[in-house]
Amino acid sequence: MFDRLEFLLNEAFVSLRRNKWITFAAITTSAMALFIIGGFAFAYFGLASFAGTQESKFDINVFARTDASPEQVQALGKRLEKLDGVKAVTFRSKAEVWKAFQKENPEISSGLEIENPMPDTFNITFTDLKKAKDIVAYARKMPEVAPKDGVQYMGDVQALIEQVMSAIRWLGLVLGTVMLATGGILIYNTIRLTMVARKKEMRIMELVGATRQTVWTPLMIEGVAEGVMGALLATAVLWIAHSVVAKLLETSLSVVKVGEFPLAVTAIVLCLSGAAYGLVCSYLAIRERPTEELPR
């Protein structure tokens, strides 16, 4: 049956070569679609894992009123420690906080002979992040806590990350869909063009009694080949983009560690999707053909 396969493959590649430019367009658009979808998937999962690492670092600062007495501050610390969901409460006195601030920002604080403006500060970490909101609300109401901005809640960062992630999800979905549609239409069109270009061959095949599989398979192979080539191209571009972005992130934000590019997985997933996609598009193109003129 190798002989058979050779014939079918040959038929498919003859037409791939014949309409080079349309093939090129179909491949690059499918590649772009897969690249966009893959790229957004990477950004999304990257951010998700980044957000995960942030969560473990998630903590809040509670500032005592500046006019609270040391006893009151101590009592506040005790009460905070007892709250459900709190892992640890560390105390830093106003003097310590001020010293640390001066050390970190010498250009702001040097020369200024002002009184220590910093409050006594409790840093709270959590065992259960879901309780964080309740704890924050509770702390805000306590009399010893500074009435305005008494609780520094890092949830804003969290919320921002979540917003960005949902934006990426939507953008990826919309752009990916648009590109997928474009790529699909182009694959579909290539097959239609092939069918026009090979009308004579197909007619002869049908005339001498070639089976439908014989007539159809080369066209399907063509669609699949376009999808797979698009996928390989997308993988390569993703790989390059990934290493560029990784370098950028690692040099500008030294804290962020970008993982290795999962080359094999990406290539396999994209190729399978590309192949399935090419198959569907070429099938749709073939199916639309009126095989025989059918009178009523």
């Binding site: 002869i204 005339l207 009694g209 439908r212 095989t291 025989e292 009178p295």
Partner: protein
């Protein structure tokens, strides 16, 4: 040579292309195995429609057509390829692939029906020899005369060794000399046992071949068998065909 059961049978065959145009309006006809028949008639009389029905390109609207007892009205698209392998079809426009040599044209058709390269190498020369075109095996179609191209088209129709050969206007574009040659080849194939149906305008060839003639007019059979009166008329005045209601 003809056996008792008819090989081709048309039963009140009707074909309507659409609500207004009918190709055939009730044709009944029997052809025995091994027969050679000409379908004659003026343009639009339904000759090609009969060929198309027999080659499963068009389905009967009413009535039926049977080949070897198989009803063509009930054929599904999946069954068409296997039926076509029992029928050699010679299209009027030859249908040769211009970028393939003569032997490749025949070989390509063989490959399309699942034959191996080995079979192509072994069988193509003999097939080309049958229609006397082997000496031009390496030529491209545009290097051939019309008659030679027609012979290649016939050769291609023979790849499945079909018991039935359908030819639509096989001499339509040829001068008398080449037409003779083609009809001789068809007669020769017929003498080897192939049933042959030829649609044609070519009254000279019909006469010369001296085979059964079905005269069609307006999608119906005008009269059975040899109709000397009409032949006579067409010979005298080939451009002015007898009128009929339409």
């Amino acid at each position: 040579m003809a056996t008792a059961a008819p090989y081709i049978q048309l039963n009140k065959l009707e074909v309507a292309y659409n609500d207004y145009v009918s190709g055939l309006r009730g044709v009944s006809l029997e052809v025995s195995r091994g027969e050679f028949i000409f379908l004659c008639g003026q343009t639009g009389s339904g000759k090609s429609t009969i060929i198309k029905v027999l080659s499963c390109q068009v389905k009967p609207t009413k009535g039926d057509a049977l080949i070897d007892g198989r009803s063509l009205a009930s054929v599904t698209p999946e069954e068409v390829p296997m039926l076509r392998r029992k029928i050699g079809i010679v299209p009027q426009d030859f249908g040769l692939l211009p970028n393939k040599k003569v032997w490749e044209n025949v070989g390509y058709a063989m490959r399309a029906v699942g034959r191996s390269k080995h079979e192509v190498r072994n069988e193509v020369p003999a097939i080309l020899e049958r229609v006397n075109i082997l000496h031009r095996a390496d030529a491209y179609p545009n290097e051939l005369s019309g008659g030679e191209q027609q012979r290649v088209a016939i050769a291609r129709a023979l790849i499945n060794n079909p018991p039935l050969l359908l030819a639509d206007e096989p001499t339509g574009n040829l001068d008398p000399g080449h037409s003779d040659e083609i009809i001789n080849i068809l007669l020769d194939l017929n003498s080897q046992g192939t049933t042959i149906v030829v649609a044609t305008h070519d009254i000279m060839q019909v006469e010369r071949a001296n085979q059964r003639v079905i005269q069609l007019a307006g999608g119906m059979i005008d009269k059975g068998d040899h109709d000397d009166e009409i032949l006579q008329h067409m010979r005298e005045d080939p451009l002015e065909f007898p009128t009929e209601e339409s």
